[in-house]
């Protein structure tokens, strides 16, 4: 059969090809098949592409997408038990295809809805006309845990409460789209939508190129420009406020910060000074005027909102009162996510817009009203009943939402009684039936329920809707299993036009004014983490070098009690490394510390660097389980050394020489200086065992250089000369100090009008001492002092830049 025939067959359901056996479920619309069972036009093109590739080709392509996600380190955090674990992003490889005309309905419906939500939240925190007019029951606000009284009456500095919203949509049995939920607190997932797109197009680049798929970049560019525009009015910066690396979607916060060029900030990076929000940077306090908030509002201020918040900024509410900061979305906007509000959306639309909702909301009854309560009780077998003030979507909420039809008689009666006693705390909602779309399982396409997450952003020209988003795909035919936390998957959404679409990128366009961020925007916390990342990476390297030298000798001499071996163990003990283990716990914890420091600043260096570090940790842990001391460990250390060099190389060759790189470099140099001075002191002491000097050269990676530079056996002095005082040996202490001086002088405030900072003076003094010193001055006592002096430099840097 030739290719052309295959393509023809693919269009016919039931014929050979991937769609074979893919059928409509009774009463449920499908995204790929029309009601008549025929493949919809956009899908036909996709299927033709799939069939051309064949099952093997397709699997290979999908593996490319997964490989991309692994390489990019895309993860989300899954909560199971106490500690969240990082999970690979569950990409459903088959994109969801939506026709442009269908999409147009979604777009105009959501623009209307975003406008409605803005008016609603402005009324709740403003004049309360809706309550006075009898449209919105006061209990829904007054009893609502998301109603934040400290911000009542504060007008947002930007003039608007909402700037970025997400909507969860499902297609009902009638074929139309329904809104299942509004996300206004801190909607997540837009960054994952981008990553989905990149991964999917890696896999299906040729098919993607043939179809006219709307691009996502324009949406992000417009929103970025809108936030920059707001910030410029107040002469401040834009930051993304994240709860930190333990958050479920921290990866996404870092990703968007990197993609849009915003600072990634945590609560402790900020301080409110005289009513203004400032970021602690290495160049002092700098004003921030727009914060894109990715943490729940009540956590942003431990003083006025949640006293138990440990991730907030005291005084944030004060800054809001002063009108000096625009928070996106405004503090308090989360109230719109309240489930019971869904019951009032049709009335609210009439009251606030004078028009009916273009996209209907899932049918909802608030049981605080007698008639509605009775309706829910009478129809309990056709209801999902759940908490009125919950902000969790009913379809994601198995813990507190009950399906009336699934209850036994006794609990059903108990539920009826609770509705009678305390109706105000409950809503009834129509159970959701969702449309199905194909997923690729074991070489075939199978239908699964889907919901659609769509994003809206405010720009100076009004609301704009991301042409795409992501679809959440159930793991079974059960609609309730759709949440990512429960094993669902996410698919890219292709909005397909029949005409060519505009190609956009975030790069500056011709004629666009070039804006540069200043180097002084590095938050102090990030700088601190960079220093520690540099230090831990270097500490790992130093430890691995010593361990390799030790294990090589152990393998050769096979008597662990020989003086050189026991002496090295004593030294390693002093730096908390127990050499009786092939992979000592001290080394593993240094690697963990490096990964930990890096994980807090993922927006600051490349995915490749992160991946190299993660790979190092994985390898070390594997080794720890099976490697034996001696020859085995020697080879393991060589592998680790190579991986460490890989990480350093990626960072050194690829990281832009901004303030961030300088701090990383300073960390490396500080640690290397301390480590080399330390081991040199130990191995050149008078009672050091035989073989100590050879070992020192090996650890200092200077065997060849020593042979070349000192052709006569010159005694301990030549070793000290090479490893401490040689300005050209990249492993000598003096070399580290010289590098430190260069970086320190270039830090903000390092040299001002020819005047040196305290730190710059200290490093110059140290450098000068070393440059004029003779090898015989470098006694073990002096070397111990040298370690302490380098340590003091670290303290001076911390005082100057991190406090």
């Amino acid at each position: 059969m030739d290719k052309r025939n295959q393509r023809q067959n693919a269009r016919k359901p039931g014929g050979p090809g991937l769609a074979t056996g893919y059928t409509l479920l009774p009463g449920i619309p499908d995204e790929m098949l029309g009601p008549d069972g025929k493949v919809r036009p956009g899908w036909a093109q996709l299927l033709a592409g799939f069939d051309e590739l064949g099952p093997a080709g397709l699997s290979e392509r999908f593996e490319r997408a997964d490989q991309y996600l692994r390489d990019a380190g895309v993860f989300y955090r899954k909560y199971d038990g106490a500690a969240g674990k990082e999970r690979a992003w569950p990409l459903a490889h088959v994109p969801l295809i939506i026709d442009e005309a269908d999409w147009q309905e979604i777009t105009s419906g959501l623009v209307q809805r975003a406008e409605l939500l803005e008016k609603l939240v402005a009324d709740i925190y403003g004049d309360n006309h809706l309550v006075a007019r009898g449209v919105l029951p006061p209990e829904l606000v007054a009893r609502n845990p998301e109603f934040l009284r400290p911000v009542v009456g504060i007008k947002p500095a930007s003039g608007h409460y909402l700037h970025f919203c997400a909507f969860e949509l499902g297609r009902g049995p009638d074929g139309g789209w329904w809104v299942l939920g509004d996300r206004t607190q801190a909607p997540s997932g837009a960054g994952f939508a981008l990553e989905n797109r990149v991964a999917t197009t890696r896999a299906l680049s040729d098919i993607y190129a043939r179809m006219h798929v709307h691009r996502l970049a324009g949406f992000f560019r417009d929103f970025r420009d809108a936030l920059h525009g707001d910030a410029r009015k107040h002469d401040g910066r834009v930051g993304i406020l994240t709860p930190g690396q333990h958050n479920e979607t921290y990866f996404e916060h870092a990703y968007i910060a990197r993609y849009l060029g915003f600072m990634l900030l945590e609560g402790e990076d900020l301080v409110v000074d005289d009513g203004e929000v400032m970021v602690r940077t290495v160049a002092g306090l700098k004003p921030v005027s727009v914060l894109w908030r990715r943490m729940d509002a009540s956590f942003t201020d431990p003083l006025e909102l949640r006293v138990d918040s440990r991730i907030g900024t005291p005084g944030m509410t004060e800054a809001l009162r002063q009108g000096s900061i625009s928070i996106v979305n405004a503090i308090g906007s989360g109230i719109l996510e309240t489930r019971a509000f869904a019951a009032f959306m049709p009335k609210l639309s009439e009251a606030l817009l004078g028009a009916p909702l273009q996209l209907p909301t899932i049918a909802t009854w608030w049981c605080g009203q007698a008639g509605e309560r009775q309706h829910v009780i009478d129809n309990i077998d056709r209801m999902m009943v759940g908490p009125a003030f919950s902000t969790v979507l009913a379809i994601e909420d198995r813990e507190t939402t009950m399906l009336g039809a699934a209850l036994d008689p006794a609990p059903k009666e108990a539920l009826r009684q609770r509705l009678l006693d305390d109706g105000g705390h409950f809503v009834g909602q129509e159970p959701v039936t969702l449309s199905t779309a194909p997923v690729y399982v074991d070489g075939r396409l199978e239908p699964r329920p889907i919901t659609l997450r769509v994003y809206a952003a405010r720009t100076p020209k009004g609301w704009t809707i991301m042409p795409g988003g992501f679809a959440r795909v159930g793991s079974t035919l059960d609609s309730a299993a759709i949440a990512m936390q429960r094993g669902g998957q996410a698919a890219d959404v292709w909005v397909v036009s029949d005409k060519p679409v505009e190609r956009v990128s975030l790069l500056p366009q011709a004629g666009e004014k070039l804006l540069r961020n200043s180097a002084g925007s590095l938050p102090s916390r990030a700088a601190d983490n960079l220093i520690w990342l540099g230090r831990y990476a270097e500490r790992c390297e130093a430890t691995v070098r010593i361990l390799r030298a030790y294990n090589a000798r152990l393998a050769e001499m096979s008597n662990p009690d020989l003086p050189i071996l026991s002496d090295t163990r004593t030294y390693l003990d002093s730096i908390d490394v127990d050499a009786r283990h092939a992979l000592p716990p001290g080394l593993l914890s240094a690697i963990d510390s490096a990964v930990h420091s890096a994980s807090q600043i993922r927006d600051r260096f490349s995915p490749d660097g992160w991946l190299a570090l993660a790979d190092l940790r994985k390898t070390a842990r594997n080794f720890a389980a099976r490697v034996q001391v001696g020859d085995d460990a020697t080879r393991a250390m060589t592998v680790l050394l190579r991986k460490l060099a890989g990480f350093s190389g990626l960072v050194h060759e690829n990281m832009y020489r901004f303030a961030g790189w300088r701090f990383l470099e300073i960390g490396r140099r500080l640690e290397r200086g301390i480590q080399i001075a330390g081991i040199t002191r130990w191995l050149t002491r008078e009672d050091a065992p035989e073989g100590a000097l050879d070992m020192l050269l090996e650890i200092g990676d200077s065997v060849m250089t020593h042979r070349r530079r000192y052709n006569v056996a010159a005694g301990a002095n030549s070793y000290v000369d090479l490893l401490v005082l040689d300005p050209l040996n990249p492993r000598s202490v003096l070399f580290q100090v010289a590098e430190l001086r260069e970086q320190i002088e270039r830090l903000p405030g390092g040299v001002v009008d020819g005047q040196l900072s305290v730190t710059a003076k200290a490093v110059l003094e140290l450098q000068t001492q070393l440059r004029v010193a003779e090898p015989e001055d470098m006694t073990p006592e002096r070397l111990a002092e040298l370690c302490a002096e380098i340590g003091r430099l670290a303290g001076l840097i911390a005082d100057a830049y991190f406090v």
């Binding site: 029951p137 606000v141 007054a142 009893r143 301080v271 431990p302 003083l303 004060e318």
Partner: protein, 292 residues
């Protein structure tokens, strides 16, 4: 009645602190028909680097202070002269509980004074079955909301022992309920939890209480105390009335109000965020002196 009030809050820190920020709610506000503030001033030592004032959602006066420089103590001093009305509460025209629910459902307002704000759980008050059942006994024994509130106020006074240091500032209403003892804050929290549990709006009031020395003894300096009691919404006609479960009485001319909120968290005298690992030592002294 006219009172001169002096309050001093003093904190000694273990070591020096800086970068701290505090909200202070100690200044009495004028309340029409209840009290009139003639003069009031608040001062801090050391002098804060920033000091701003605002009125919070419930109408309370708040001062925000912050320190950039290092200090090892904080002293807050309030002096105020307040006139308190000494009128007797009118006769009870409050509805029964079902009537109260009907009246509530006709109140379409979110004003700060709206009873709707005082029906739900709040930061320090969760609903708990035992306390609700306890309050329900008072409802059963009476025929009006106001009588139920007074019955509940007297029950708490009878069943709970006032004991300094038996609880701390973070004790939950349920813990105090099981202990059957506590201080004014616990008495007030238990009463609020019970009333809300049965559907009666209740608020937490913070203020000062004049203490009258035993016969023949002189008044001791600083011996008066900050105090807490409960505001109960008794229907549209009777409105908000104040009950003092610690002293088994309606709040009257000896009660000087600072302000109110849903519970202690909304009106605590001082909330602060300190970046310090050490603890601190707190002292408080209050004088309420009758001027005329």
């Amino acid at each position: 009645m006219l009172y001169d009030i002096r309050l001093e809050l003093h904190y000694d820190y273990e070591g020096f602190v800086h970068g701290d920020r505090h909200l202070v709610r100690v200044a009495p506000a004028s309340i029409p028909g209840v009290q009139r503030v003639i003069a009031s001033s608040i001062s801090f030592d050391p002098k804060p680097d920033t000091e701003t004032n605002f009125v919070d959602f419930f109408g309370n006066l708040v001062t925000t202070i912050s320190y950039a420089h290092y200090h090892d103590s904080l002293n807050v001093r309030l002096t105020a002269r307040v006139g308190v009305e000494d009128d007797h509460p009118p006769a009870d025209f409050s509805p029964d509980l079902a009537g109260l629910q009907r009246e509530l459902s006709t109140l379409w307002t979110l004003d700060a004074n709206s009873p709707h704000h005082f029906l739900a759980t709040s930061p320090r008050i969760a609903f708990s079955r035992p306390i609700t059942d306890y309050a329900r006994q008072s409802v059963r024994r009476t025929t009006s909301v106001r009588a139920a509130a007074m019955d509940f106020c007297l029950s708490i006074h009878r069943d709970f022992k006032y004991e300094q240091d038996s609880t701390d500032v973070n004790t939950s209403p349920l813990d105090a309920f099981h202990l059957k003892k506590g201080v004014c804050q616990d008495f007030a929290h238990v009463m609020i939890a019970g009333l809300r549990g049965v559907g009666i709006p209740a608020a937490y009031v913070s203020g000062f209480l004049r203490t009258i020395p035993p016969k023949g003894k002189a008044r001791l300096e600083g011996a008066d105390a900050m105090h807490a009691w409960v505001r109960v919404w008794c229907g549209i006609h009777d409105g908000w009335l104040e009950f003092d479960p610690t002293n088994a009485m309606l709040a009257g001319a000896d009660h000087i109000t600072i302000g109110h909120g849903r519970d202690y968290a909304d009106i605590s005298p001082i909330v602060g965020v300190l970046r310090t690992s050490g603890g601190h030592d707190a002292k408080q002294s209050v004088d309420v002196i009758r001027v005329e």
